[in-house]
């Protein structure tokens, strides 16, 4: 079986699909460069990302389905899993091959898996909406550090832009070493040269605005006092706020 190796970008992935049709490759799998292991048997083709080709696939999907399906595909793609990427190939081929595309066919296990992936993405997005905590820096920039399970930054920018249109803010993903920076209604992707291993609570105090720590203290005090001890239920608590998110949460730092 042929392996199409792409650079990990969405455009790269779509370019693979383009290649499948142009080169009439029927039996193949796609794999991200980083996950690729060269095998003794089978052939690997390195696909170089081509924006125009990707664009044509996007337009094709849009024509045959809807914007909503396109958004579905993009969101699921960001889960960064090889299995899901190949389920997507199956799904997109179904669209192009003119069979009634069956996004609501929950009886098809590969489609169902895509829906499950979508749900997981949705959950992670929702958690980011909930658990991102901004800290105000001296120059009035609001910064949040995250390390989500999936690559969700492309999906959360709009939410924060709508909510905080007049603020300058940065949400930085330390796992994937890039961030989204908002200023005056525009969101840019930013990279720092060196890999920074930063956690939310480790932003140096001398960089924080003069009031920042006092608001943090007040939030912590609030969190303490709204608890009703008689009703403590740690299990339930941890189901809602899994431990891996605790580093985000000001109310959990002590």
């Amino acid at each position: 079986m042929v392996e199409l190796v792409f650079d990990g970008s969405y455009e790269g992935f779509l370019t693979c699909i383009f290649e499948m049709y142009i080169q009439k490759i029927n039996d193949c799998t796609v794999v991200e460069q980083d996950h690729h292991q060269s095998k003794i048997f089978g052939e690997a083709i390195i696909v170089s990302t081509n924006e125009q080709h990707a664009e044509r696939i996007i337009n094709g999907i849009k024509d045959k389905t809807s914007k909503k399906v396109l958004a579905f595909i993009y969101s699921v793609f960001l889960q960064e899993s090889t299995q899901i990427h190949n389920d997507l190939v199956y799904f997109i081929k179904m669209i192009f091959d003119g069979k009634a595309y069956k996004i609501s066919d929950f009886g098809d296990s590969r489609i169902l898996r895509l829906h499950k992936a979508k749900k997981m993405m949705g959950r992670e997005v929702h958690r980011m909406h909930a658990f991102v905590r901004f800290q105000q820096l001296k120059d009035d920039l609001y910064v949040a550090i995250v390390n989500p399970d999936f690559n969700v930054l492309p999906l959360i920018g709009k939410h924060f832009k709508d909510r905080y249109p007049t603020m300058e803010w940065l949400i930085y993903d330390t796992k994937r070493s890039y961030g989204i920076f908002h200023s005056e209604g525009k969101i840019d992707v930013v990279n720092f040269e060196e890999h920074i291993d930063l956690y939310q609570e480790k932003i140096r105090h001398e960089n924080l605005s003069s009031d920042e720590l006092s608001y943090q203290k007040m939030w912590q005090a609030y969190f303490q006092s709204v608890n009703i001890k008689e009703r403590n239920n740690t299990k339930l608590h941890e189901r809602h706020v899994p431990r891996r998110y605790w580093t985000y949460l000001v109310e959990k730092w002590n």
Binding site: K102, Q136, T166
Partner: protein
């Protein structure tokens, strides 16, 4: 009464959030408010829980009292006049500043402001309104605001509150006039119903106006809600749920919240309870949920024969076991509403079933994959490969399967996803 020297904002926050925490109506949902170009915040209509307390309750709003001074003496309330506690009050600006700064850091969806009754109803209401007005007008704040409507406040103030708030609530607290009189002699059902009735009118009027004129003012677009205290008085579940049903139908309330009585007060007017009735509270929420989203009639759930909810199994399962003539439901043919009544099938699964059965006849495997909880649903579903013996199991066996796997996991709080 203990008066303190000047308190810091943190100290006030500790006191005035502690006093507000027993009010459970914290959901920030039901109102959509778009941000303005230079504004701060929005309400998406789906509240976000930004955190959860140790007891598993959603924290989505800054929930505080403006003051815990109060001229009343309601037995069930920590703020009551006769209680020996520290008293303090926020200034309007302090509340505004906290709200804005918590919001900007993404700690909260907005503000839930309640208050003890200081001097008079109008005096108190006027200050609550001032906070909301300042947030909206001076800070362009478009996050969520929930205000308490103080019984006895003038219609003008209630109307103005409605202009700035997403939701207003008047708490009834005790589920009957008799119980209310016993613990809060200054209060009556009428005091709570009157502002509710006025607001119902104002909210409906504004909706009609807005159909004619797009820019007519919105009044409390998220509607109104109330809270009932459970377990501090003798009313049964039938009484409570019928009251809720009436409030939904007649007063057009958006939500009724149930608050299991926390024995905070040793006031002799209250019964001695050693534990908060958490499970009963949860069952009431489940029943309420069935009325609002599953099209159950209140008397399907509780009636003269079964005046109290079954504590061991959820009300949907209880209904199914009591009404064997409605089952099994043919999953490939039945209409949506019948599918919704099957234990183990939630709203989402029901919708998926309707969508998926267009492509093929569904069997057990399909249903499981869709998310139906088969352990519960198997007794009530007919599909290609359902088993006759299972469908005809005795009701004792069925009941056994409806019990939660481990009891501890069902002791859940109000914000849980209530049904699968």
């Amino acid at each position: 009464m203990r008066l303190m020297g000047k308190l810091s904002v943190v100290q006030k926050l500790e006191i005035l959030s502690d006093a507000a925490k027993y009010d459970v109506s914290c959901a920030s949902s039901g109102s959509k408010r778009k941000n303005t170009k230079n504004g701060l915040g929005n309400s998406s209509g789906m509240g976000i829980c930004h955190s959860y307390t140790q007891d598993g309750r959603c924290v989505s709003l800054l929930k505080i009292l403006l003051t815990n001074f109060c001229i009343f003496d309601c037995a069930y309330c920590v703020t009551r006049k006769s209680n020996d506690i520290r008293r303090t009050a926020f200034t309007v600006d302090e509340v505004v500043d906290l709200t804005i700064n918590f919001y900007k850091r993404n700690y909260i969806e907005g503000l839930f402001l309640s208050s003890g009754i200081f001097k008079s109803a109008d005096y108190t209401m006027e200050r609550l309104v001032r906070v909301a007005k300042k947030l909206r007008k001076e800070h362009d704040f478009n996050g969520y605001i929930h205000l308490k409507a103080i019984p006895g406040a003038s219609d003008e103030l209630l109307y103005e509150a409605g202009l700035y708030a997403d939701r207003l609530s008047v708490n009834i607290e005790m589920p009957s006039e008799k119980s209310l009189k016993l613990v809060a002699p200054e209060k009556s059902f009428k005091d709570a119903m009157e502002p509710m009735e006025y607001l119902k009118g104002a909210i409906q009027e504004s909706k009609i106006e807005r159909q004619k004129f797009r820019h007519a003012p919105k009044v409390s677009p998220g509607g109104q809600s109330t809270q009932l205290v459970i377990g501090a008085s003798p009313e049964n579940d039938k009484h409570i749920l019928e009251l809720s049903d009436q409030l939904y139908v007649e007063k057009k309330l958006k939500r009724v919240y149930y608050s299991g009585y926390v024995p905070i007060s040793d006031d002799p007017r209250l019964p001695i309870v050693d534990k908060t009735p958490v499970l009963r509270e949860n069952r009431l929420y489940q029943a309420d949920w069935l009325m609002r989203f599953y099209k159950f009639d209140v008397n399907d759930i509780v009636n003269d024969e079964f005046p109290d909810l079954d504590i061991d199994i959820d009300p949907k399962a209880a209904h199914a076991l009591r009404n064997p003539h409605l089952f099994p439901v043919d999953i490939n043919k039945a209409e949506y509403h019948s599918i919704l009544k099957i234990p183990g099938v939630g709203v989402k699964s029901a919708k998926k079933i309707i969508a998926a059965r267009k492509f093929r006849k569904l069997n057990i495997e399909h249903l499981k994959k869709i998310g139906v909880i088969w352990k519960r649903a198997q007794f009530f579903i007919e599909c290609g490969d359902s088993k006759y013996t299972v469908l005809n199991a005795s009701s004792a066996i069925k009941r056994q399967f409806m019990l939660p796997a481990a009891k501890s996991t069902t002791i859940s709080s109000t914000q849980l996803s209530l049904f699968q």
